[in-house]
Amino acid sequence: MNALLKASGLTKRYDGRGGCVDVDLDVYPGEVLCIVGESGSGKTTLLNALAIRTGVDSGALAYRTREGDTLDLLALNEPQKRLLSRTEWGFVHQNARDGLRRNVSAGANIGEPLMAIGARHYGRLRETASDWMTRVELDAARIDELPSAFSGGMQQRLQIARNLVTGPRLVFMDEPTAGLDVSVQARLLDLLRTLTSKLHLAAVIVTHDIGVARLLAHRLMVMKDGRVVESGLTDQVLDDPQHPYTQTLVASVLPV
């Protein structure tokens, strides 16, 4: 099987410090890859680099489109980037407020990506929006409310609906469950797991929460100081950590 997204030697540093260094990774269709590591280990930088939301210093990044063409992501121009990120990708931010338009209703938020790629039928947009609200377990009757009327967990689900409405093949998520309380987290994780398997969605999820990784990920990458120190199947990495840092990470999960 061909990789959906393939990065090799990806490096992005800030003034020669921080960021991520020399990262190789493959994401296959339908696969959930989690990147774990402590704050400042370069997880988010790597995610932004993969989603071409930031430039990189060196390395290569390739993506296989629906049509089977291989795109050199680092050579795309702005319109191509926008089209790709609107039709093939989604990006779920850590804070729902970064990913949502705050001054328009939930329905408009879900409809916006569709309008951006040319949907011009109000009735159908509305139908799709309410359908997606149901699919992310939101009350479709609240379609006309502003995002601020929803709770944190609901806003996050709204953001996920907005990202999935265009039928992407790959979704990037930056700490999607951070800042939510535990029971809400559990529901969201359950939803994410259902959606990714139902839609055969590939996902790259950045998290510092080993629990999230264990529940969602097929494969795991552990980062420290900008470098990938260990990677492999989730259970393998978590049950038999090799690198001292991974061992600390796994050992420091509080038992319930």
Partner: protein, 292 residues
């Protein structure tokens, strides 16, 4: 105003039509570019004018750059020739350029306007100059100027529909009634200045050259004659213009844009044409017919 008086004004130290020739050339260059790229906002070095921003400094500079001694100027504000803004700008050019002025749309070679397009159809011998307060149609939707430019460059106008979606949610229909954004020549999104959406269809395939000047925002844009101008909408909520149950109380027109006026303390209402010249000429025609 007589030629003698006009020359007296010129001899007071003002150049023809107030602006110096270099400035007019600069504005004409911007105008040429604007006509070449319909609907695209062209920056220009807007000058201080002897009236405040918001009173038509952009339109004034455009008119000043294109007016010649043989032109006939009409200035309207909200459709009327008699409001302060219209009277003053008309007098300004009568004094500084000594040009003939008129209130009759058909007699004018240049019409400078604020908030309306005349009801009388314009011809290919006429130029209409719009005064524009805010040239950026995405202004309320995207606060970053750099991002707005990018959106224009990529013809990425989905945001407008997000606004219309929200309008329909809140009001049941697209609630934008003036300054209704249009797509010019299937390419650039353009703010038509605060004209009512009633006037939008008049811009489509108009034989007259349409020039837009925004003084404070320092932008000029244009629609060349016979250019497609489309008002954006939803397929199932198509663009439509305002309609009135009333006819004009003075001339009886059912086709023109009506102003609602409260005429006494009891709240009695009266609907009259906002285009005063159109209303006058219809009444004159009726009187003539009656006389015959």
């Amino acid at each position: 105003m007589s030629t003698h008086e006009a020359q007296a004004a010129l001899s007071e130290g003002y150049n023809f039509a107030y602006l110096d020739e270099q400035t007019k050339r600069m504005i004409r260059r911007a105008l040429l570019k604007a006509v070449a790229v319909p609907g695209h906002q062209v920056p220009f070095a807007s000058r201080e004018m002897p009236l405040p921003y918001g009173w038509g400094t952009g339109g004034l500079q455009v008119t000043s750059a294109i007016i010649g001694a043989s032109d006939t100027l009409k200035v309207i504000d909200q459709g009327s020739d008699e409001t302060t803004n219209a009277v003053n700008i008309r007098r300004f050019f009568a004094r500084t350029a000594g040009v003939a002025t008129t209130t009759r749309t058909a007699d004018a070679s240049i019409v400078q306007t604020r908030h309306r397009i005349p009801e009388t159809p314009l011809t290919d011998a006429q130029i209409i100059v719009y005064q524009v307060p805010m040239p950026e149609p995405l202004y309320r939707l995207e606060p970053r100027v750099t991002e707005c430019r990018k959106l224009h460059a990529l013809a990425d106008y989905g945001l407008i529909n997000v606004k219309y979606y929200e309008d329909i949610v809140q009001h049941g229909s697209i609630a934008t009634t003036y300054d209704y954004p249009v797509l010019v020549n299937d390419r650039y999104l353009m703010a038509p200045s605060p004209i009512p959406k009633f006037d939008n269809p008049k811009m489509h395939m108009s034989p007259a050259l349409q020039l837009f000047g925004a003084g404070r925002e320092r932008r000029i844009y244009a629609i060349p004659p016979y250019t497609k101008v489309k008002s954006l909408d939803f397929e199932d909520h198509p663009f439509s213009v305002q309609k009135w149950e009333h006819a004009c109380a003075l001339c009886g027109s059912r086709e023109s844009f009506l102003d609602e006026m409260i005429v006494d303390d009891e709240g009695t209402r009266m609907f009259v044409c906002s285009d005063s010249d159109y209303c006058h000429s219809r009444r004159d025609d009726k009187e003539k017919e009656a006389a015959q």
